[in-house]
Amino acid sequence: MGYRVGIDIGGTFTDFALLNGPEVRLFKNLSTPEDRSVGVMNGLARLAAMESLPLADFLAACDAIVHGTTIADNTLIEMNGALTGLITTEGFRDEMEYRRGYKEDIWDVRLAPPKQITPRRRRLTVPERILFDGAVHKALDEDAVRACCRRLKKQNVESVAVSLIFSFVNPVHEKRVAEIVAEEMPGVQISLSHEVLPRAPEYDRTSTTVVNAYVGPRVTSYLERLVSRLQESGYRNRLMVMQASGGVMTREYIEGSPIRVLASGPAGGVIGSAHVGVAKGHRNLLCVDMGGTSYDISMVLNGAAPAVAGWNMHHRYLVGVPMVQVETLGAGGGSICHVNNGELQVGPASAGAAPGPICYGRGGTRPTVTDALLMLGILSAESEFAGGSFSLSRAGVEEAFRALGEQMGYSAEEAAFDCWRVVNANMSQGVRRITAGKGVDPKDMVMLAYGGNGPAFAAIQAEDLGIDRVLVPKASPTFSALGTLVADPSIDEERSYISPAGAIDAGKLRALWAELGERARKYFGDAGFAADTVAARYQMSMRYPGQNWALCFDIKVNRGLDDLSFVDGSIGQRAIELFNERHMQEYGHIRENEMPEITGVRLATFVETPSPTTGKGFGAPTVLARVAKTRRANLGHGFRETAVFLGSELQPGHEVAGPAIIEETFTTIVVYPDWKARVDDAGDYELVRV
């Protein structure tokens, strides 16, 4: 078996996980924002060198390269996507601007509404009307479509979204619009709502289609560039790309639906967390990922992190495709510390990879969280940083914190300590909002900390939240990259079908699932997976009449895509029972005398692929680890001489009592006072409260 490489591009670092049999090698280098594929190729060259192979031989020996990219997220953060137009049904021109309320928080007078991807001049309408049952009520006015095209063309539109009312029931008009747009505007990318998100309601569908059109050209050109670089350098297999649903799929599939890579990076980390946590016997995990730019929070409950389709607000746009639920705060190593109206604040602005924290010595002048850690002695200018890619420098750091302290009326060290406290408080607040929203008590969970900065804060976060066990996988700094290797190839799609559950048309259900099954068969087949290796979860979405949201549940899990015999006359009755069970679980009550309605069907398909094995348990005898050195550090209780251990010297069975600092190759683990760390048989760390 050859190599498998997982690659995850973050705002600051590009992370690599190389799997060779059961062995995992990690690497990270700085991202290259001007052309991210450059950073990828640089890192691959380093990996090849580590394996003592020329790049071409290394790539030829790779069975799979799996990639998680933030290109779509960055496009939405920076709002630099394609110049996008929207063609929609007469009367629906302004729906994208009404949204679900003009802005997310109507009480915040300072919050401006989001920038329109398609301002009104590029949102044009055509007379046509298809009814809820698919009947054509008003024929499509083709001349109006051509007139729209001319107007969009005059505005140099590069990408066109088409979203007509009830197109998901009958796409005939949308398909015709696509033909006309292709004739009138050769070369533009076209996103059709009945393909991107074929379901009600129309605002969700339109918003998702518009975002798809906006990020699509950036995603496809990036992937094409990367694939051609990989091929030129000797890679012969398919590039697999991480999706927000937590599964990977071929580049060809992604190009048909680029929006599916939005939020895919963090999803890789969550999938990796579930894999590691479950292997170690922990089924309820609070996963926190603190990198250079952001702090991502997610939960694994009962061993799984299911993808939720529907209400996913992403960078202020509604995106309806399935996503693993990850909440993001602007709190990372690069988060900038500043004083605002007499209040010390950290983030959400980040110094990113360029110019970076002051201590990176790359021109950064504003103090960041990483600089605060250096001031506190948690990081050291004498130690290697990021695996020896460069060293930190104290030049300018102290001055910056002194300036901050002067505004607050205290010393530079006190300012750095306050920054540490503020960023901690921000993160704990973020976690509580999410656990409380789900009715979960963090006390019952194990924290899994990753990302370059996660392990420096994990135990203190845990203490704040009442958690007394923290896992820090050896692979934690490049965990999202490892997660892309754990993730299975998968396709998760839905179709709309609205009917009272008591009057379901089994033939219609069968036809919809067969259609989804055919798509899965095609794309898995192209990727080299036979249909009988595909596992299929047939799911239904249902709600009580009058409810806004539907709940989704499995009605059948099969191997292979052929057996639809479960769709029989009794499926409605079974669906009602399963729905009530799910409703009880989610909301704690059911409405016994009401007939729920089905809103759609979903088919989640995946193929199990080999994952890195994860050791478990503590077989090795416990021995105290050797202190490598000491340094002056403040771990929350004032500055004192603190023991420092080297991760490279720690073996399974080693124990480190806090207060202590463990310097790993790509991260620093802080063992706070009243905590101890142990290395398990896999070389992963477990921190427990004494």
Partner: protein, 126 residues
Amino acid sequence: MAWMVSAAHPLSGLCGGDPASPYRSRFEVGTPGEYEVELSANARLPAGAVIAYQHGGGAGFGPAILRDPQAVREDVLDEIISVARAREKYGVVFTGTVEDYDLAVDGPATEALRQEMGAATAAAAA
């Protein structure tokens, strides 16, 4: 039973801004008894009656002729207001057309028109 808000009292402008366009509400639309609600109504409507409700706008803040002409241009390009309305209300004169997306603010003409409008307003106030 239906209640409606007043069409006679639109939101007031502030600091010299104009009042908003008012809410418009009509009851029993499409029947001989159709009527517009001027101030308020607390009416018992027959089953199946149609109500038409048109949301009013937001009011102005500051005199319209002081609004940034480029912001007015954006509104015209977005077809929120017409070229004619931009001229009559905001005193902005354009060259080019909305259809060709080459609309540009005619600076001197806008300046002259706004001066004229300002003088007229001052005269009316005096």
